[in-house]
Symmetry: C2
């Protein structure tokens, strides 16, 4: 049985890091703006039984949990069979959200410095209230105003192709273990005209935004995936490296100036081979009577208390205007570990990429980080490379922060993101579902959808956070 803490106690946002710490990374303008937003914000999230969620109901036939309007998303069942990994067959709830949302960042260069129009956004699942979000973050249900709320500010820059120079426009997947074939449109649009920032928005220098990635829980997932999709030659990091031996190797890796161990044709062959090697099938099934899961009026939990629960919340959320609604959220059990092992090969930093099966991914597999797991879900022994990254000596940990996943769908979901430099003991020869790639190779593939999963995209953004 999953034990659940009480929801956040009160109405005050708790996301502002201690100012002394924040000042190491952020300028006074950002700190002021974020403090003002936090002071104005209200975020009261309380647990509500699934059976009592206003405007949500379990379908009489299937037991699937959906909104009265048919919009937003449906919690359904998924039955998985695979020849990949230790567990060959399971069932699970999954979030089916077929519509394509927009994650859009406006960028403007001023005196040679790129600025991003970020938003202070509250989501009911955020453990800390406000996080730094892209300019626009809207599902189609949002921006076609199914919820009859306010129109989405700045949306026109992303829906009207003439409004700016589009630097990024690509569909990318999101959490393939929790979402069924979800994809969002990742966009970066560069403008030249003046675009005033509304009260909830702020023009933030891109280098500063990248540095904020080093603060726990501050920069949200949608910002990270959008930043990761920026082409390598667009606004390269001004200080792209940490101090230390790995510095020049990382520059060569991110810029593409260093030679890759495996050329891109080889990488694509490897990936096709990995997809073809395993039989994978995922069938939608009714949520009712899902094998291995226990349904109560309160929540849906896994019999062994692992993986995640589906819970209900009542949210009262807003900066100045407060909106109130009910919704289900996916509440993961335990904190995940998401890590790339990075090895300098012939002077160039290479990331150890894993061809990872996740049942909700459109084609079953995408390229993921070396490690991506919740350790508690593996009572019989840690997955490959987990011990290596958790036991790495401090000087080999290039990046280490706890970042949150999408708070609009997940409740208090956090992962420990790590970039770990491999020691000389780490072999260059790797198991067949793994492949060494440079950061630049991954960035090139991000021109296309469905190659690099959202966890790996987060880490690629963090690789530019120095």
């Amino acid at each position: 049985m999953v034990s659940l803490p009480a929801g956040p106690a009160g109405g005050l946002v708790r996301s502002l890091p201690p100012e002394s710490y924040l000042a190491d990374f952020a300028g006074a303008e950002f700190i002021d703006w974020f403090a003002r937003c936090s002071a104005a914000a209200r975020c009261r999230v309380t647990r509500t039984p699934l059976t009592e969620l206003r405007r949500w109901r379990f379908d009489a036939d299937t037991g699937n949990l959906g909104h009265d309007s048919g919009a937003f998303f449906v919690v359904e069942g998924l039955q998985v069979r695979t020849g990949y990994g230790p567990v060959r067959e399971w069932s699970q709830p999954i979030i089916n959200q077929p519509e394509i949302g927009i994650l859009g960042m406006l960028v403007k260069e001023v005196d040679g410095v790129p600025y991003c129009l970020v938003q202070a956004k509250i989501e009911p699942g955020n453990h800390n209230g406000i996080q730094v979000s892209p300019t626009v973050q809207a599902t189609r249900s949002n921006y076609t105003r199914i919820h009859q709320g306010r129109s989405t500010r700045y949306l026109e820059y992303f829906t009207d192709p003439g409004a700016g120079r589009t630097l990024v426009d690509v569909l990318q997947s999101e959490q393939g273990s929790w979402f069924l074939r979800k994809r969002n449109r990742n966009m970066v649009v560069q403008v030249t005209e003046d675009v005033p920032a509304g009260e909830d928005h702020h023009w933030l220098p891109l280098p500063e935004l990248r540095r904020l990635l080093r603060i726990d829980g501050l920069v949200n997932m949608d910002t990270r995936t959008v930043l990761a999709c920026l082409p390598a030659d667009t606004f390269p990091a001004s200080q792209p490296v940490p101090a230390g031996d790995a510095a020049s190797a990382l520059v060569l890796s991110t810029t593409g100036r260093g030679r890759a161990l495996n050329d891109t044709a080889t990488v694509l062959r490897w990936f096709t081979g990995a997809k073809s090697r395993h039989e994978l099938s995922a069938h939608r099934i009714p949520l009712r009577d899902l094998p291995g899961w226990r349904s109560t009026p309160e929540q849906i939990t896994h019999e062994d208390g692992r993986h995640f629960s589906i819970i209900g919340v009542t949210a009262e959320v807003g900066n100045r205007e407060v909106a109130a609604w009910d919704q289900p959220l996916l509440y993961p059990e335990g904190r995940g570990v998401v890590a790339f092992v990075i090895k300098v090969i012939e002077g160039v930093a290479h990331l150890l990429v894993h061809a990872r099966f996740q049942p909700g991914l459109l084609d079953g597999m995408e390229m993921g980080p070396t490690v991506q797991c919740v350790p508690e879900n593996y009572p019989d022994g840690p997955p490959r490379f987990l011990d290596y990254v958790l036991n790495a000596p401090r000087e080999r940990v290039l990046y280490n922060a706890v970042l949150a996943e999408e708070g609009g769908r997940f409740y208090h979901s956090q992962n420990n993101y790590l970039l770990v430099e491999a020691g000389d003991d780490f072999p260059t020869a790797v198991p067949e579902d793994y492949c060494w790639m440079t950061a630049h190779q991954l960035t090139l593939l991000l021109r296309h959808g469905y190659y690099v999963n959202v966890e790996a995209r987060s880490l690629l953004a963090c690789l530019q956070s120095w």
Copy 2:
């Protein structure tokens, strides 16, 4: 009601074109080999009611039609809702074949000329018995020998990466109107050692294979898609152009030496926009009681006699050894038209690509030809550009042949493939779901899966048939 002709009358293969005609395109060696294969081949295909197919049965719960072993494929139902196209909602049977097969061509250069190891292959749905196929054409059920037949010859060149130089290795979709998320592994492997051709195989110069694409029904779909995936700089066509004004414009288009109207970033943005513009959903539903379809022991047909039927056949097929089995086949109603309109823009030939929704495609949309339809399915008026390509003056028709689709799953499925040069009257400005691209741009995207649909891939192969 669909009226069905009787199955092929007898056991003799009927695919050999008249020798006088064949000799315009093929050399004596090929003609001799193909005649020998045809003489040795047996292909007896007779209609059998679906309820009497040996080893196939309708599932008691769902009515889905599958094989006793669980292998091969299942005929299921699909419910489609879309904001795209004139029909917004429908149900249909669909072939669910989740396993990834291999379409593999061995290539060897001799004295600077690339040779392909083609196979004379009989499929029960071929209207003409034997067609020219890739070296290996095998589903996973085939090559893991679920059917307990002979092992697949030459398979090891495609499953053992060390055996040659891999020029192509990519997963590509197949007919998205008839297959549910089907994809095959398209491979071209170049060898340097001698690989003897077995009796059913023949080393054919690639330029000759390309010319054979001009003969109706001779080169099968699997060969066409594999040829289309060859990178533009690998074995470019020796005579890449037809005579006439379009010649140099086509060279510039296929080689990439000519400037494209829309750069690739623009093309990718256009495609992301098209995918995001339309709401598309496709749900698997039980085949039992599929709305709009009539099920009899004989077959499953559409109420209006349109689209296709699911029929059963008993096949006795073989070159020397004859194998016998029963299976369902999808029998399309009417002959399709598949055409690219090609316009010379600033001296470079551009293909008018259509972002086409097909419910079985993995991401709903791929880039298809300008026209792709069965005219009989549009009683209320022809789809866009159909009249233009059918009424084009003879001198503007650069390519015109009737080619067959996959005979292992489709019964007598044929399309009229056309490449039509646009007149000056044809506007450069096109509707929003269309985009002008060079052949080279499409070929570059074929490094990746799920961009270019199988019908467009066939036409790209035909574009090199001069």
